[in-house]
Amino acid sequence: MGEQPARLADGGRIDRDDRRRFTFDGRAVSGLGGDTLASALLANGIHLVGRSFKLHRPRGICSAGVEEPNALLTLRGGARREPNVQATVAELWDGLAVTSQNRWPSLALDAGAIGGMLSRLLPAGFYYKTFMGPTRRAWMLYEPAIRRAAGLGRATREPDPDRYERRQAFCDVLVVGSGPAGIAAALAAGGAGARVILVEQAARCGGQLLAEPVASEAESWRSARLAELAGLDNVQMLTRTTAFGLYDGNVVGAVERAWDHVAEPPPGQPRERAWTLHCGHVLLATGATERPLLFGDNDRPGIMLASAVRRYLHDFAVLPGRRAVVVTDNDSAYPTARDLARAGAAVTLVDTRPRAPAAAGEALAGERVKLLCDGRVERVEGRRRVRALAVTHADGRTRLDCDLVCVAGGWSPNVHLASHLGGRPEYRATLDAFVPGALPAGQSAAGALVGEYATAAAIDSGWRAGLAAAGAPVTDPPFAAPATGALPPGPGPAPRPQPGGRGKVFVDLQNDVTAADVALAWREGYRSVEHLKRYTTLGMGTDQGRTSNINGLALMASLRGEDIPTTGTTTFRPPFTPVALGALAGRRVGRQFRPERRTPMHDWHAEQGAEFVRAGPWLRAWYYRDHGADVDRAYVAEMRQVREGVGMVDVSTLGKIDVQGPDAAEFLNRVYVNGWLKLPIGKARYGVMLRDDGFVFDDGTTSRIGEQQYFMTTTTAEAGPVMSWLEFLLETAWPELRVQVTSVSDQWAGIAVAGPKSRRVLAAALPGVDVGDDSLPPMGVRDAECGDGLPVRLLRVSFSGERAYEVYTPSGYGRHLWERLLEAGRPFGLAPYGTEALGGLRIEKGHPAGPELDGRTTLDDLGLGRMARDKPFVGDVLRRRPALTAGDRRALVGLQPLEAGEPLRAGALVFPHGQPNEGHGIGHVTAATWSPTLGHDIALALVERGPGRHGETVTVASPVHGEAVTARVVAPVFIDPDGERIHAEV
């Protein structure tokens, strides 16, 4: 066999000088530039390209577009290996390696297909029956084998080496589809001055015009119009771009396979680009898809859609078979029969109608095509390629030798996008098809999508829709419609032929759903189309049932004794065709997956060997490797440093809010549970906020800086929500308050200096600033300037229980202040500490923090009930509802193991001692740490009736670690219960 034996000598939109070599299951073959993988395979006479999903039946190429159910192949290898690519969509490039799927040991000899045994094992509803029935346990046994036997290709497990992009674009009119209607619409709207984007999923524009010969009036029209479009600056044409979803606000999601048609994208170029198109008007010209016919063994390789065959003839100069039978129930396949005959094939046309309409008959005039009317397919011969067709017809019964069968079962408009926003398609009996229902303002449809199948009618409807979309007066098209060789399906629906003949009648080729499966579903009561779909998996493949939905609906409708519109359609949801997740992610992968925030001192931490931990968007220093080989050793050393000497920690991540105005004190008095009216200038106070529902929201210290100015700090986690909440209250609830809130989180760097030597470090680091206890007592606040001009804000507050200060400075000075403190602190042994030590210190001191402020705790749960003052404040009414004041609530306690070496872990469950560790227990550990002060683990926990249990023993169980530790319930303050250490100094 020579090279590309099925390639015709003339015609086609292919580049005969551009020979492209590729391999199919290791066999070296070649195609031409401009080929799809499918056209190249067909040019080489290859029809058998895969095994079916469940039954491992041999399958061939069925279509020439995105509706392809069969020809799913794995492209490339290594990290770029991509399964389930439609051969009819993939463009051929030189060096492409292609493998078939779901076959073993080989495509021609597949063990899974032997004896058709799988078909009895896997009927409709197989998964449901196995899951729900008495065989449920056996499923565990079968599943791996079944998953291997039934399936598609395997994706790579390596990281995607390619880059993807996302883009936003705006237009007045988006035209989806570049068939005759879409081209006319884009020209009309573009000519009227609208900003137009035209998207076409294929590499070439033209839609059905591509099924016309290159030497034809249709081709001249196509190239002339495309040249006109290219000359309009206000029209942008995006080919290889699929509009996959239509969303609220006339936003269309589209994916451009920019460099997916080459082995590797050029350097710096994305493989795919996801577009978000914001459209004034969306004009859908998405065309229609041909339906196959139902008869026994209608899945054999060599059985193809008639329109696809005509496209292969004229777009790719490929003759898919030399002895062809065309089986049709309408007129639109007659041109295929004629053109096959002209290309040299022996052609028989089997029309299921009693006689061929005159217009159809004329199409065959002068061609050697044998016409058989009132035809039925009785039997298909050939397994790996169709060999013969036995048909009955008006004049009897005939066996037709053939190597190609073209089927034509009418057309289904592509209503998907028109239905994405919930619009229901309408059944049009004269078309035997669904068309878009009423579209909302700003959307319209044209061409074959609305049943205008004839080229001239499609052009006319596109032109008018394009002008209307641009808001221009509607006129006739300025160009004549070309004569084409195509024929519309013809008047009225043909009586739908009953599926007959021997063998399995496939409705959904991709998911191996047969007419018998549909009947089984009906018998078992799955009669709504949505149930039918899920029970049989009809239409649930990667092709979304583009060729099978209407045939399946028609079968179910006839079983129900109803018409198709009563039976209805399933729901159309995005995406129209599969979209690579990489394209949707764009550049938001790896470190760009989410925003990362760094403190002003971040680089210092990194240079000094800090390990970082994520806290929301923030990267915080977790511990410093200098202080220990691992976190467990380092944080203990860092805690000890604070307790015995002095340490410092970066607290720049705290939320900071500037609160100003004559009513600022009143405002704070309303949002915090405690009192704020008497806080003097120069003092800070710890405050707690509730939500309206009475649960604790957030805590922090707020300082009075001036007569009308306060400096609020929030937790790192709630900085954003607290800010929004304060703005909400001021704008909606209390507009009468003269208060302005401003987030200053990013304006201030913050450092906590803690330990009995902390004051001496400050005195050394901040020359000219009085840090004596008289000027800066506990809870004191000072704005000051160092002798050299460095501005600082000093708060004497403590999270650890030690004498401690928070020092703030404008962010730009953050690193300078950090290094200055470190330098000045060197004689005192100052060392930085990370968040692990910060957390351990606060556990020792029993300060509630994030793990306890989990949105489910009340003031009383946290032991803070005494803070609430007798005044109206947010959340006060609902915090007093019965469920929040019940005595059995889980409340904060401390835990310590009876045996000093036993571990306590955050997340462990607390059970009454001596009872089985089942269920959820009576509480859980919120935070745990090793206490260097006490020499054993300690934990904070929320336990039912906790405060009443001090002294009790409980079991602290961590089932995931297989641990159960006996512990004693104690007060949640492990060190310095009288709070003396904040004065201590050494």
């Binding site: 609220d248 309303r670 309206d692 929004s724 909400f728 704008e731 909606t732 109206p872 404040f873």
Partner: protein, 93 residues
């Protein structure tokens, strides 16, 4: 995707905004002591299909709280105003 015409910043993508709940419920005054009324304000929602007044905050813009009237069936935005009411909206753009 929705587009919301912020009275201060103009027509913007909804990704700039954050949803803030039902604006048709009336918040009791702070010193109002009826647990029942606060319960209704915090928890009871009509959840209508159709016109709905709701709070949105222009968090990635001017940070104003807005009252947006939206059709929960069609997602059509029927009107946008400042939640504070008294502020003078800027011109579009």
């Amino acid at each position: 995707m929705l587009r919301i015409r912020c009275p201060f910043c103009g027509d913007r993508d909804h990704a700039e905004f954050s949803y803030g709940g039902d604006a048709s419920v009336e918040r009791p005054p702070l010193d109002h002591d009826s647990r029942e009324d606060w319960y209704r304000y915090v928890f009871v929602r009509a959840n209508p299909k159709g016109r709905h007044r709701e709070y949105w905050q222009h968090v990635h813009g001017c940070r104003s709280w807005l009252v947006v009237e939206r059709d929960t069936g069609s997602h059509a935005i029927l009107g946008v105003e400042s939640a504070a009411g008294s502020l003078e909206p800027a011109r579009d753009g």
